[in-house]
């Protein structure tokens, strides 16, 4: 009995040391991921500032190997979106969406909405309205999903309203009452398809 107890004490000691060692390894990995997240967030801020100053030219060409956590991937996607590398950002976001807790899922869907909205704004600026419309629809869908997960997400509310102003939804909200908002064409979208561009 004494021998068994002695062996159990040794086993418990080994288990405790293993627990401490694995947790220490996890802490190291978290620290490494957090450092990576902070780095990409800083780069995203720099590239945004650079865009503001130089009109999007001369962005720093850095492509570090990204971490595996959803937060790190989201940070990299934000960095890429700020660099207007939309396809790469979309690839990463598609990996992140649906991962993590509800807060992170709301954030990733909001970032997806921002990605589509940014692309749509670029298309509008280039005069390609037809390409912008499905992007705006996707942006609205992503913002709605973000708000379903977190109804107090103010930035998502703001950008969803912006997207809905850019591409209003035309059906009436009540069969008896005419929808005056829907009837009004958007101030920006004077050439939205659906309105006649001219008659012979």
């Amino acid at each position: 009995m004494r021998a068994l107890r002695h062996k159990l004490i040794w086993a418990a000691l080994v288990a405790s040391l293993l627990l401490a060692a694995t947790q220490l390894w996890s802490l190291y990995r978290i620290h490494r991921e957090n450092a990576l997240i902070a780095e990409w967030v800083a780069w995203a801020g720099q590239s945004a500032a650079h865009q503001a100053g130089k009109g999007g030219d001369g962005l720093p060409e850095v492509s570090p190997s990204y971490g595996n956590s959803p937060q790190a991937r989201l940070a990299r996607a934000i960095y890429l979106r700020n660099k207007r590398r939309y396809a790469e950002a979309l690839d990463i976001l598609s990996l992140v969406v649906g991962q993590g807790d509800s807060r992170l899922q709301a954030q990733s869907r909001y970032s997806l909405g921002n990605l589509y909205l940014s692309q749509a704004r670029d298309e509008v600026e280039a005069g390609r309205i037809n390409q912008a419309m499905p992007l705006l629809t996707l942006a609205k869908q992503a913002y709605r999903q973000a708000l379903t997960l977190d109804s107090g997400f103010w930035d998502a509310k703001y950008n969803l309203e912006l997207a809905m102003k850019l591409l209003p939804e035309f059906d009436r909200i009540s069969p008896t009452e005419p929808d005056d908002d829907a009837a009004k064409p958007s101030q920006l979208w004077t050439t939205v398809p659906g309105f006649p561009r001219g008659l012979p």
């Binding site: 978290i30 959803p70 309203e161």
Partner: protein, 319 residues
């Protein structure tokens, strides 16, 4: 019963009275039965005795806001809510979603509570009145259907952003920036690390006491020191080793230990019963060597060292 007197018919008052009484009793019974049945019917409570729609403030909502409604319906116990009449979760219209539906029924009190969480996705240009559509709740009672109308609920919705187009530094329409991800939480890992570390420290401390690493507990290191001493002893001084062994037993027992007192020793220190044979042998052998002049054979010396190691293991708790 009646007799004709002067052409007139006279009715016997007594028999007429009895007849009237018989007729009156029948009418009264019928009347009472009718009243009783009617009374019983009016005593039964209605199928739905209470309906309440609890709603929040009907103004000040923004796009994406949730609106929670609670329906409380009090019914008789035999009345069952038709679940198909409760709105299903999902998209109700272009701008209105029903995100959550929870239904709680208390069969004892007959109270049904339905919680509905709506979410509005409408972008008004100005404060606008909208309405959450009404519906009918259906209940079944003995094959019959009873309905309770839930009225439409009007409310006002306000815009989040201004109507004028605001521009950012690049001259593009202003939009809110990305939500930056937060650093990964490490609380549980820190807790696990500290728990492992503290447990390891406690267990390690306990084992160090068992192994006699602390000089403050000399009784835990009797055979540890003796074992080291026996290993270092040169061959001519081996008798001193026997004396040291006796001193070790004396220190453990707290008083001089002789062969005659071994039973008492084993009662005090039952863990040393595992080495009883060897200890009895040692006391006999040492008597022969120390007082009988017997030489210390190499095999006996090794046996003594083995006894010392065995006692050391018992001291540590290994045996």
């Amino acid at each position: 019963m009646s007799r004709c007197i002067f052409g007139l018919r006279r009715v016997d008052k007594r028999s007429a009275s009895t007849l009237n009484l018989t007729v009156d009793a029948r009418c009264l019974s019928a009347l009472l039965l009718t009243l009783l049945l009617g009374g019983c019917g009016s005593l039964l409570p209605p199928a739905i005795s209470r309906f309440e729609l609890q709603t929040p403030r009907p103004f000040g909502y923004l796009i994406g806001d949730e609106i929670r409604h609670r329906l409380i319906v009090q019914t008789r116990n035999d009345v069952r809510l038709s679940l198909n009449s409760v709105p299903a979760k999902g998209e109700l219209s272009r701008w209105l979603n029903l995100n959550k539906v929870s239904l709680n029924h208390d069969p004892d009190s007959g109270e049904t509570v339905i919680d509905l969480t709506y979410q509005v996705f409408y972008a008004p240009n100005e404060v606008k009145m909208l309405s959450i559509p009404g519906f009918n709740l259906q209940f079944t009672q003995a094959g019959k259907t009873v309905e309770q109308a839930v009225p439409a609920w009007p409310f006002t919705l306000s815009p989040v952003k201004e109507l004028a187009v605001s521009k950012d530094e690049q001259g593009r329409q202003y939009m809110r920036p990305d939500a930056l991800p937060e650093p990964l939480p490490a609380t549980s890992q820190w807790l696990g690390f500290y728990a492992g570390l503290i447990a390891a420290a406690l267990l390690g401390g306990y084992l160090s006491v068992l192994y006699g690493l602390w000089p403050v507990w000399p009784k835990r290191r009797i055979f540890k020191r003796l074992s080291a001493k026996l290993d270092r002893l040169p061959e001519p001084q081996r008798q001193a080793g026997l004396t040291a062994m006796h001193h070790a037993f004396n220190a453990l027992y707290g008083k001089p230990l002789f062969a005659s007192g071994l039973q008492a020793f084993f009662q005090d220190h039952p863990q040393y019963r595992a080495a009883a044979d060897a200890i009895v042998w040692f006391f006999g052998w040492s008597n022969r060597v120390l007082f009988g002049g017997q030489a210390i054979a190499a095999g006996d010396w090794e046996k003594l060292q083995g006894l010392c190691r065995l006692c050391r293991d018992i001291e540590c708790g290994k045996r």
